[in-house]
């Protein structure tokens, strides 16, 4: 009887994941082989949906764009996240301050992403705060047009929304580094940058890996930031899928989702190959 207890305890979680994650994702895979017309979708086994994806000239460019967003956002959030975490862990000596400043960085996570995203609009527009400031100080003679509704705006919003997904895991990894390791390096004659490069960075790689997985997956799966911040001028794979869903072309969208999932999984697997996250998570 007692041996049944953990199964009963985990059953609700397992049920939710089965009903609302495993079966639905399985359904996406199944429907990606179905056919459809403008009214409904029909059970079938056709490869047309995939053929459409791999022969469409748009596919390649849209994937290129999405991966470009992911890589640039990843690089910026990584540098920012690492720097901020490093500062909090190794430069803020008072524990209360450390917790307080860490919370300051994480509080936006618990607020609306949409609101945080649209809050850039009064800043970046033609008559926005940046342009007014540039004109007033004479740094520019005409308003900069590229600020809003551009790749710049999209990446800015990504960095704004997702940097904390880097900060939290890297901070956790760094907080576990024993001060004695660093003292040893300093005593051994390491310069500060050598300590960062050869001691702190290797010891926080789990956090870097986890943060990278988050950021890459979030950017690759995003559809609403790219749509709003590019003003509809740019698209990502997920926003194209969202359009197909809007047109009720479910099987095509499902096939697109399967391809994107395979690619995201490969990216995550590549990160996990470099860093064994599971070992660290279990510890």
């Amino acid at each position: 009887m007692r041996r049944l207890v953990p199964y009963l305890q985990v059953a609700p979680l397992a049920t939710v994941l089965l009903l609302f994650l495993v079966i639905p994702v399985g359904m996406i895979l199944v429907v990606s082989f179905w056919s459809y017309d403008q009214f409904d979708i029909y059970p079938d086994f056709i490869l047309d949906n995939y053929r459409y994806i791999f022969t469409s000239p748009v596919t390649f460019s849209i994937y290129l764009k999405t991966i470009y967003y992911a890589v640039v956002t990843w690089a910026i959030t990584l540098v920012l996240g690492f720097t901020i975490s490093y500062y909090l862990v190794f430069h803020v000596r008072n524990l209360l301050w450390q917790i307080g400043l860490f919370l300051l960085c994480t509080v936006p996570f618990w607020t609306s992403n949409i609101i945080r995203m649209i809050s850039w609009i009064p800043f970046l527009g033609r008559e926005g705060i940046f342009n007014q400031a540039l004109l007033a100080t004479g740094l520019a003679s005409a308003p900069l047009e590229f600020l809003l509704f551009s790749d710049f705006a999209v990446i800015l919003a990504y960095v704004h929304l997702f940097t904390l997904f880097m900060i939290v895991p890297i901070f956790n990894a760094m907080a576990r580094i024993s001060p004695t390791v660093i003292e040893a390096a300093v005593d051994g004659g390491a310069k500060p940058w050598q300590v960062v490069l050869h001691v702190v960075l290797p010891l926080s790689k789990t956090g870097v890996a986890l943060g990278s997985i988050f950021v890459v997956a979030l950017v690759m799966g995003d559809f609403f930031v790219v749509r709003t911040m590019s003003g509809g001028q740019s698209g990502s794979v997920a926003s194209a899928l969202n359009n197909e869903i809007g047109l009720l072309q479910y099987p095509t969208a499902a096939a697109g989702a399967v391809v994107l999932l395979v690619i995201v999984t490969l990216m995550v697997a590549a990160i996990l190959r470099i860093v064994d996250v599971r070992r660290e998570l279990a510890a």
Binding site: V25, C105, P108, W110, N113, G128, M220, T228, L241, N242
Partner: protein, 287 residues
């Protein structure tokens, strides 16, 4: 390494402090701009300068024609977030207890939870919508919407429970058992009080992540929108400060939830600081 021989801050400290301050400004600056702009006068636009100060745009939120079903979506979001919060709390706690033992399928369920965390929300929504279509179920916010939200909140709940149980000292539990406590007593009198701060964190994640959820909601809440979907729709067609007023209101709710959670955690921790003293108090009646 951060302190010089005389205890003085190195130059790198000041550079990094500047970076940190700029980052915080970057994080909060734009948000605060929309809060300020939402208090504009009736003729105000989407950017500075402010044209007068008023509560006009907050009033406009309740005018149906302007912003759609604001009150309804607001109520739905709050109710849904509360249900998600309660379920996330109970399910995560139970699962956290389960993962303290070995059981078959543990690794599989763990990976499913991680996959749920990393899975693009749009696909969770698409999958649920497809299942609904095939089975002939109408998506509803309290059914499919609830399930979709749980796939987002439960992994966070589970990871927090892992972190909390990692630091949990089982000798308290064993001591209680040695003194004859039943399973139920161990849970309610020992485990739950010790885990309380972690459980509040789980509740905070459950509430706020559900309250602000977009990607998983689009295809799963059915005909009646939740608040973030209403806001998302507004970003495409409303170009007045009413949008910002809505942002201010919804962020205020989030901040309220965060403040309640953090203050409660702080209070529990502070009370713990004096805990042993009280326990030693001979007159200390259990309160």
């Amino acid at each position: 390494m951060t302190v010089g021989p005389q205890g003085r801050r190195p130059l790198s400290f000041w550079i990094l402090t500047a970076v940190f301050v700029l980052f915080v400004l970057f994080l909060y600056g734009p948000m605060s701009a929309i809060y300020i702009l939402s208090f504009q006068g009736p003729t105000g636009g989407l950017t500075f300068p402010m044209r007068g100060v008023s509560l006009h745009w907050f009033g406009a939120l309740f005018g149906q024609q302007r912003t759609g079903d604001f009150s309804g979506s607001f109520a739905r979001s709050i109710i849904l977030a509360l249900i998600v919060m309660a379920l996330t709390l109970v399910i995560s706690l139970a699962a956290g207890l389960a993962f303290r033992q070995r059981f078959r399928g543990a690794t599989l369920i763990f990976y499913a939870a991680i996959a749920s965390l990393v899975m693009p929300g749009l696909f969770v929504g698409l999958g649920i919508a497809l299942v609904c279509q095939v089975l002939g179920i109408t998506p509803r916010w309290w059914l499919t919407g609830l399930g979709a939200h749980l796939t987002w909140t439960l992994p966070f709940g589970l990871l927090i429970m892992f972190a909390v149980f990692n630091r949990f000292d089982r000798s308290y539990e064993e001591a209680a058992r040695d003194l004859g406590a039943s399973d139920r007593q161990v849970l309610t009198a020992v485990i739950l009080p010790i885990l309380a701060p972690g459980l509040i964190a789980v509740a905070l994640f459950g509430f706020t992540l559900s309250y602000d959820e977009v990607a998983r909601s689009t295809l799963t809440v059915g005909a009646r929108n939740t608040m973030p979907l209403e806001i998302y729709a507004m970003t495409n067609n409303v170009t007045s400060p009413a949008l910002f007023a809505l942002g201010t209101v919804t962020t205020a709710i989030s901040f309220l939830a965060i403040a309640v959670a953090l203050l409660t955690i702080a209070r529990i921790t502070r009370r713990r600081g004096t805990g042993p003293v009280r326990a030693a108090d001979p007159a200390g009646a259990p309160s």
